[in-house]
C-alpha cells in the first residue's frame, strides 16, 4: 500500500471516530479511488450562510500530505474568496501555509471558518468583496442570502 493510501485510511478512521457536525459528509466518492473526496459543510448559525449546505470536491494529490489537497466549491456560493464560476477557494492554508499537520477534516473546518471570516484583501469574487470593503453590510448580506436561497437551501 502506498503512503498516501495508508494516511487516507487513517484519516477516514479518525473522521468516523470523531465526526464534526459542521461537516455532515466527508468521504471518498468511491471505495476504489481514495484520492477523490466529497464533503458537505453547513453555514454556521450566526453567519450570513445560515441554512446553507455546500458541497465541496476534494482532489488529493499522490504527493499528499507533502502537497495540499485541492478543494473547490461544487455548490455555487457568493463569497469574497471563492470564485463564483469555478468554485476555486483562495485560502493560504491550501497554498503557501499548508503543512502535513493539517488533515482533510481540519482543512474543511478552515473553510467553514472562512465563510464567517472572509478575507476581502485577496478577493476572487469582486462584487462581494467590494460590497464588504465599502461597508455595505446590508447589500453584502442580501447578496449572499439570495445565492444561499437559490443554490444551497437545505431540504
Amino acid at each position: 500500500m502506498d503512503t498516501v493510501t495508508k494516511r487516507l485510511i487513517k484519516e477516514i478512521k479518525n473522521i468516523q471516530n470523531s465526526p464534526n457536525e459542521q461537516i455532515p459528509e466527508l468521504h471518498p466518492i468511491s471505495d476504489d479511488d481514495l484520492l477523490e473526496w466529497k464533503a458537505v459543510i453547513l453555514g454556521q448559525e450566526d453567519s450570513y450562510y445560515k441554512g446553507g449546505r455546500f458541497e465541496l470536491a476534494i482532489s488529493v494529490p499522490k504527493t499528499y500530505p507533502i502537497q495540499p489537497p485541492k478543494i473547490r466549491f461544487v455548490t455555487k456560493i457568493c463569497h469574497p474568496n471563492v470564485h463564483f464560476k469555478t468554485g476555486e477557494i483562495c485560502l493560504d492554508l491550501l497554498k503557501t501555509e499548508w503543512s502535513p499537520a493539517w488533515t482533510l477534516q481540519s482543512a474543511c473546518m478552515a473553510i467553514c471558518v472562512l465563510l464567517t471570516q472572509p478575507e476581502p484583501s485577496s478577493p476572487l469574487n469582486c462584487d462581494a468583496a467590494n460590497l464588504l470593503r465599502c461597508g455595505d453590510e446590508l447589500g453584502y448580506k442580501s447578496l449572499i442570502q439570495m445565492y444561499v436561497n437559490m443554490y444551497a437551501k437545505q431540504q
Binding site: 503512503t3 494516511r7 487513517k10 500530505p65 507533502i66 503543512s99 499537520a101
Partner: protein, 370 residues
C-alpha cells in the same frame, strides 16, 4: 497414486505399477512412461524402476536412487524425490549455457553436496538456492547466480550473514562454497543465539522479521520507551552500542541507570540476561500492549511502520526522528520529514544539513542529508 494420478497398479497384488511421470523442465511439461516393480508390495526398498526414455538418467543416478529407496517410507514419497532429482538433472543436461564438460563437473559437485540441498534451480542454470545446515540446527539459504562467461566470471553469492565476503568461486567449485559457508555460519552461532533469545523473550519492534544479517534490535522497555542495541557480531556478548528512544524523561532516566551500572556487565551471561539484571525489569511481552501505547505514529504518513527499500530488500522502519521542541516531540520517519522539509521554500541547506520548520509547531528541525 496421490501425487501421481497417471501412475496406477496393474492388478490387486500391488506388485506392479505402470503409467507416466510428469517432469517440469524449463517451464514445459514432459511425460515419460515409467514402470515400477516391487518384490514385496509393503516394502518400498524392494522396488525396481524401469523407463526406456529415462534409462540413461536412471542408470547414471543408480546410487542416489537406491539411497532414496532406502530412505522413503512409501512409493508416493519416493516418486516425489525421484521427480525432483530427474527434473534438476534434466535442467542441467538440457542447458545450453555451458559446454558439456562443465556441466558434468557441476553434476559431480551436486552429487557431492547432495541433490536434496539444492532448490529453486532456474531454467538454463540461471540461479539456484543451496540449503545448508550449520552445526547448530539452523537452516541457511545461499542464493547463487551463475555467470554467463564461465571462464572469467565468478558465481554471485548472496548470503544472509552480518559481514560482506568477497571470495571468488567458479561454477565448478560448488562443494567448496558449501564448506566455506558452513564454517562462516558456525562462526556466528553465538551471535545468532544472543539475538534469537532477545527475539523470543522480548518485544522487538524493529526490525520486523529480522534477517540473519541484522545486528540491531529495538526492544520495548516500558510504555513510551524502547532501547536500540547494536550487537557486535565478532564479540556478541560484549557491552552493546545502545540508544534509548521515546519520551525525554524516560530516555534520560534509563540512560543514567545504564551508564551507572555499565561496570556490572558480565560477558559470561547473555545480552538478554545482562539487560534484565542491570535494568532490573521484566521485559514487556507483545500480547500485553499495543503499538500505540509504546510509540506515536509518524506525523506525516500517520503510520508506525514505513516500508523502504534497502539493498534490494524491503524493510519496515519506525519513526526515527523527533521534533526537539519538548512541548511538541512529534515523531517522524526520516524519509517523511525529509520530503517535507525539501518541499518547503523556507528550508535552508548548509553542509549536508537541512534546517526547516516542524509541520506541527514550526520550531526548527535539523536533518542530516543522507
Amino acid at each position: 497414486m496421490k501425487d501421481f494420478p497417471l501412475i496406477s497398479p496393474c492388478d490387486y497384488t500391488l506388485k506392479h505399477y505402470v503409467g507416466f511421470i510428469q517432469l517440469f523442465i524449463n517451464n514445459e511439461e514432459h511425460e515419460y512412461p515409467i514402470e515400477i516393480k516391487l518384490d514385496d508390495p509393503s516394502n518400498i526398498k524392494t522396488a525396481t524402476i524401469y523407463s526406456e526414455k529415462l534409462s540413461n538418467l536412471l542408470e547414471d543416478n543408480k546410487k542416489i536412487i537406491s539411497q532414496m529407496l532406502q530412505n522413503s517410507s512409501d512409493l508416493n514419497t519416493f516418486l516425489i524425490d525421484l521427480k525432483d532429482l530427474l527434473e534438476k538433472k534434466e535442467i542441467l543436461l538440457s542447458s545450453k549455457k555451458y559446454p558439456l564438460k562443465y556441466i558434468s563437473k557441476m553434476i559431480k559437485e551436486f552429487d557431492e553436496i547432495g541433490w536434496d540441498k539444492i532448490s529453486n534451480l532456474k531454467s538454463d542454470l540461471h540461479s539456484l538456492t543451496l540449503n545448508i545446515n550449520d552445526s547448530y540446527n539452523r537452516n541457511h539459504k545461499l542464493d547463487l547466480i551463475f555467470p554467463y562467461n564461465y571462464n572469467t566470471e565468478v558465481i554471485q553469492i548472496k548470503a544472509d550473514i552480518p559481514e560482506k565476503i568477497d571470495n571468488k568461486y567458479f561454477i565448478n567449485e560448488l562443494s567448496k562454497i558449501v564448506d566455506f559457508y558452513k564454517n562462516i555460519f558456525d562462526k556466528y552461532n553465538n551471535f545468532w543465539s544472543q539475538l534469537e533469545e532477545i527475539d523470543k523473550k522480548t518485544w522487538v519492534i524493529e526490525p520486523l522479521n529480522p534477517p540473519r544479517s541484522s545486528n540491531y534490535r529495538r526492544i520495548i522497555i516500558e510504555k513510551k520507551c524502547s532501547i536500540n542495541i547494536q550487537v557486535n557480531p565478532n564479540n556478541p556478548r560484549s557491552f552493546p552500542i545502545y540508544q534509548f528512544m521515546g519520551s525525554d524523561d524516560l530516555v534520560q532516566k534509563w540512560t543514567m541507570i545504564l551508564i551507572n551500572k555499565q561496570h556490572q556487565w558480565n560477558i559470561n551471561i547473555s545480552i538478554y540476561e545482562n539487560l534484565k539484571k542491570i535494568l532490573n525489569i521484566e521485559f514487556p511481552q507483545k500480547e500485553k500492549m499495543s503499538l500505540s501505547d509504546i510509540s506515536d505514529a509518524c506525523g506525516i504518513c500517520y503510520s508506525h511502520y514505513l516500508t523502504i527499500e534497502k539493498d534490494d530488500k524491503l524493510e519496515k522502519l519506525l519513526p526515527d526522528k523527533q521534533c526537539k521542541n519538548v512541548k511538541c516531540s512529534q515523531p517522524y520517519h526520516y524519509k517523511c520529514i525529509f520530503e517535507w522539509l525539501r518541499s518547503l521554500t523556507t528550508t535552508k541547506k548548509s553542509f549536508n544539513y537541512l534546517y526547516g520548520k516542524c509541520p506541527y509547531c514550526e520550531e526548527m528541525i535539523t536533518l542530516p542529508i543522507n
